[in-house]
């Protein structure tokens, strides 16, 4: 097992190296090159020359890449051109908001998606199946930001069930522990803060969950159908095992394997969806940092977000692989 883990870890390295190379090339493709990207259009030629020296841009290209890698590995992503703060610190501050939102969305997608997919599959061709399939197809086709607006207009403005935006009501003085507001409220027993945070979380999480939900439903459905048609299920059925046992122990357990992979893949979608969702709900997480960085052409911040985003994506999927290896004895040591 340990060897498998180590080998998978090693496999990630070339991917990350290539990724850093791409981002390095991307920075050089910016109009005016990296120095003017970092300093802005108004920078004087002297300032650009100084930064070029500092960044080693007068060096051969492969040495430059080496230095670029060195800075990244030591956690130096530079300072945001908007705020002057170190980019990494900014990301650290915004991260809990996005983690909370993504976790909530993922939870909704998984807790709703797997049962729905399973039910749809076990009543294949029935009205539930057809409407579920249509629902997932439509769900994927709705622009995320438009959906967010509709939910807000109806549930926040019309019905006033939920607050329209932000993470916390004014006047709630919550203690910060993990940065995940709902959890913090539970940990510190500030129940009202927790409840308030939860209310704020519902609409954005539902918005963000639509696409992953649709994907998980469909994968679960397909996977369950696949397993139900397989030999060992037929065997189990003909053995006379109770249908409940077959479903629980044989079908669901085996069908969930590809689903767990899909969940890993959703992390990337969540990150991308967060850019749109956070903008609509004024959420103040990584997505907002990214949207601001695009608007204000903050290249140090964009670079860091791009690298870290892909890194998280790769690592989450590595974790999924590892958990996969634990669930499925066939996936091992090859």
């Amino acid at each position: 097992m340990l060897r498998f883990v180590l080998r998978r870890l090693l496999q990630v390295i070339p991917t990350l190296l290539l990724l850093s190379l791409l981002v390095f090339a991307w920075l050089r493709a910016l109009p005016g090159g990296p120095a003017s990207a970092f300093l802005g259009d108004r920078a004087t030629p002297e300032a650009i020359a100084a930064l070029n020296r500092q960044l080693g841009l007068d060096q051969p290209i492969f040495i430059q890449y080496g230095q670029f890698l060195g800075r990244i590995l030591s956690g130096d992503f530079g300072a945001s051109t908007i705020t002057g703060q170190p980019v990494l610190a900014e990301i650290g501050r915004a991260l809990p908001a996005t983690v909370e939102l993504s976790l909530a969305a993922l939870l909704i997608a998984v807790l709703l998606g797997i049962p729905l997919g399973y039910l749809a599959a076990s009543r294949r061709g029935g009205p539930l199946d057809v409407s579920t399939i249509m629902g997932t197809l439509v769900g994927v086709a709705v622009p995320v930001f438009f959906l967010g607006y509709l939910l807000k207009a109806f549930f926040a403005v019309q019905l006033r069930w939920f607050p329209p935006s932000g993470r916390q009501a004014v006047g709630i003085d919550a203690t910060d522990v993990t940065g995940l507001a709902v959890l913090d409220g539970l940990l510190t027993r500030e129940w009202d803060a927790s409840w308030d945070a939860l209310l704020h979380l519902v609409l954005p999480a539902v918005t963000l969950a639509t696409i992953p939900l649709a994907v998980i439903v469909r994968i679960t459905r397909a996977s369950v159908l696949d397993v139900m048609g397989s030999d060992f299920v037929r065997t189990a059925n003909s053995k006379g095992l109770a249908p409940g046992t077959v479903r629980g122990r044989h079908v669901l357990r085996n069908a969930l394997l590809p689903v767990s992979t899909t969940i890993g893949l959703q992390v990337g979608l969540l990150l991308a969806g967060a850019v749109l969702t956070e903008k609509v709900f004024v959420w103040g997480g990584i997505g907002t940092l990214l949207a601001d960085a695009i608007t204000l052409k903050d290249y140090p911040r964009l670079q860091a977000l791009l690298l870290l985003g892909a890194l998280v994506y790769v690592l989450v999927n590595l974790l999924v692989d590892l958990s996969y290896a634990i669930i499925d004895p066939r996936v091992r040591l090859t």
Binding site: T81, S165, F281
Partner: protein, 559 residues
């Protein structure tokens, strides 16, 4: 008010907001203390702001989002009467110039204390003035935008734009008298003494929290602790906290305020960049009001029972023309043709809120020096085509820059205004190459620093009642915005601005306005547009200001 800053991050749907602006129908609350009719004091007032403040040190404040909270915590020597650009006593009860306007004597209010308990007196005033002129490094001097623009320079100028300082010295013959000596007279005074940037800070706090420690990294600036966490003034509200993650600024009542006691216990500014999100927060009842509702929403909001407080249109929107990159634009006839081609009547009616007007010159009628005899350039596309043909510019192609991700008090929806004008220009045979750029993400650099455009949309909200603050800002010196090759323009504006005698100054600027429109036409003035504030129906006491200089101290809520 300064229109060119890269300060705060702003984002939003089709229209966002970073804005500054101004005032009108006053909604003063009834008698305080009476239950029922007027509001009650106490409680919390929550206001939605479109952008985040850059810092809280007044001298480094240069945009409306920073001014809004700073105004509640600080006072200036002279202040603007609520709802007007007229002066009224602030920390000074009287101010008198000497004969040649080079020395201003201020009689100061007695018994005023800073939030840290130290005394406000003439020494404190002089400490502030001396601190400003002695700002040490380039970073601090760049960020003291309004000081640079009004007082022109510093003791040790660290930037290319620094001139010999206008400020000479400050003396405090007694605790309630401060005398400011200037090296030359300026028509901007005394109005400019009321600028929020020239608010008086506590000398003790300035020193304790390293107020002058400003650093630049890349395009961003970082400030000392005074500007970020310890602003200390004499104003009706005291700083409590600025939560940068939740984007919430919390101020608390100053019980020892020298003026009318502030009403709300707490005053909270929530930064909500998205225009729709601000509206929905109000509709959901989570905020009590917000700034710069989209003109599209005024009717809806009024019908839903909210109060839309409209400021007077103390601003100007113009179509900038840059003569540098396209020689055809150096021909006055071509610029006149452009002016004739644009249907400004329709643009104002279709895109701007009720009360907006077509501009006849580069300043609104409230400003001294406005030439009342000027008529709008008529919409006449045949004349435009004829002028273009005459100038041999029938195949004109224009790189037209316009800002995105922003709304301004004078320009609620830049994309629509651009589209309307571009269509007009196409109708007379001009080929328009559209170049949209985010306001703080390239646009201001392109049009105000690098001058890479042929045409652009920009405007200005007045800081105080002075023609130099409008025309002088645009055409006082050569700027990349306009690329004007004719030095006569600058000479004429400069001469008018150097005139100190009020009557002579007004006359000089009236002539400047006529010449700008008839002789030079360096740009096309488009419109004056009133920006608004919206508050809930139970709110009273908020007076919209032409300068966007709103004070929240008298605001109360009933029910």
């Amino acid at each position: 008010m300064r229109s060119a800053r890269r300060l705060f991050a702003v984002t939003a749907a089709a229209a966002l907001a970073v804005t500054l602006a101004a005032c009108a129908s006053s909604e003063r609350g009834g008698d305080e203390g009476e239950a029922g009719g007027a509001g009650e004091s106490g409680g919390t007032f929550v206001f939605g702001a479109p952008g985040a403040p850059d810092n809280f040190d007044p001298i480094f404040a240069q945009d409306g989002e920073t001014f809004r909270p700073v105004r509640q915590m600080y006072d200036t020597l002279v202040m603007y009467k609520p709802g007007t650009a007229d002066l009224e006593p602030g920390l000074a009860t009287e101010w008198t110039p000497n004969a040649d306007f080079t020395e201003w004597t201020f009689t100061l209010r007695e018994g005023v204390k800073f939030h840290d308990g130290t005394d406000f007196n003439a020494e404190a005033v002089c400490f502030n003035f001396n601190r400003w002129v002695n700002l040490p490094n380039a970073a601090a001097q760049t960020q003291a935008y309004y000081y640079g623009s009004v007082f022109e320079g510093f003791t040790n100028n660290q930037t290319d734009s620094g001139l010999p300082p206008v400020y000479n010295s400050c003396t405090a013959p007694d605790p309630t008298t401060a005398v400011i000596k200037l090296n030359k007279a300026k028509g901007a005074f005394p109005g400019a003494f009321g600028l929020t940037s020239f608010s008086i800070s506590s000398p003790a706090a300035l020193q304790q929290y390293e107020a002058d420690n400003v650093q630049q990294s890349g395009e961003a600036f970082t400030y000392g602790a005074y500007a970020t966490d310890h602003p200390t003034g004499t104003g009706p509200y005291k700083f409590e906290s600025y939560d940068r993650t939740a984007n919430v600024i919390t101020l608390v009542r100053n019980p020892d305020y020298w003026g009318d006691p502030p009403q709300s216990d707490r005053l909270i500014f929530r930064v909500i960049p998205d225009e729709n999100a601000r509206k929905q927060e109000l509709q959901a009842g989570t905020i009590d009001g917000y700034d710069f509702p989209s003109p599209a929403d005024w009717e809806t909001l009024k019908n839903e029972g909210y109060q839309v407080l409209v400021r007077p249109a103390f601003n100007i929107l113009y179509l900038g023309i840059n003569q540098k990159n396209n020689p055809a634009l150096q021909d006055l006839r071509v610029r006149q043709a452009i002016a004739h081609a644009i249907d400004r009547e329709s643009m104002v009616r279709n895109q701007l809120p009720e009360g907006a007007q077509v501009a006849t010159q580069f300043m609104p009628s409230e400003v001294d020096g406005y030439a009342a005899d000027l008529q709008p350039i008529p919409f006449d596309q045949d004349r435009a085509r004829a002028l273009l043909a005459e100038a041999g510019a029938s195949n004109l192609t224009i790189n037209f820059y316009y800002p995105t991700e922003v709304t301004r008090p004078y320009m609620p929806n830049p994309t629509n205004i651009f589209t309307a004008i571009a269509e007009n220009l196409r109708q007379v045979g001009i080929t328009v190459n559209p170049v949209p750029q985010p306001w703080n993400g390239g646009y201001l650099d392109s049009v105000t620093a690098n001058g890479v455009h042929d045409m652009h949309l920009l405007g200005w909200t007045g800081d105080y009642n002075d023609p130099g603050n409008f025309v002088g800002t645009f055409f006082g010196t050569a700027k990349p915005d306009f690329g004007i090759p004719d030095p006569n323009v600058f000479a004429e504006v400069g001469a008018a601005d150097a005139t100190v005698d009020p009557a002579a100054r007004t006359a000089a600027f009236e002539q400047v306005n006529r010449d700008l429109m008839q002789k030079y036409l360096p740009a096309v003035p488009l419109s004056h547009s009133p920006p608004a504030i919206v508050v809930r129906d139970n709110v009273s006491g908020l007076v919209p200001s032409p300068l966007t200089d709103e004070r929240f101290a008298p605001v109360t809520k009933s029910g």
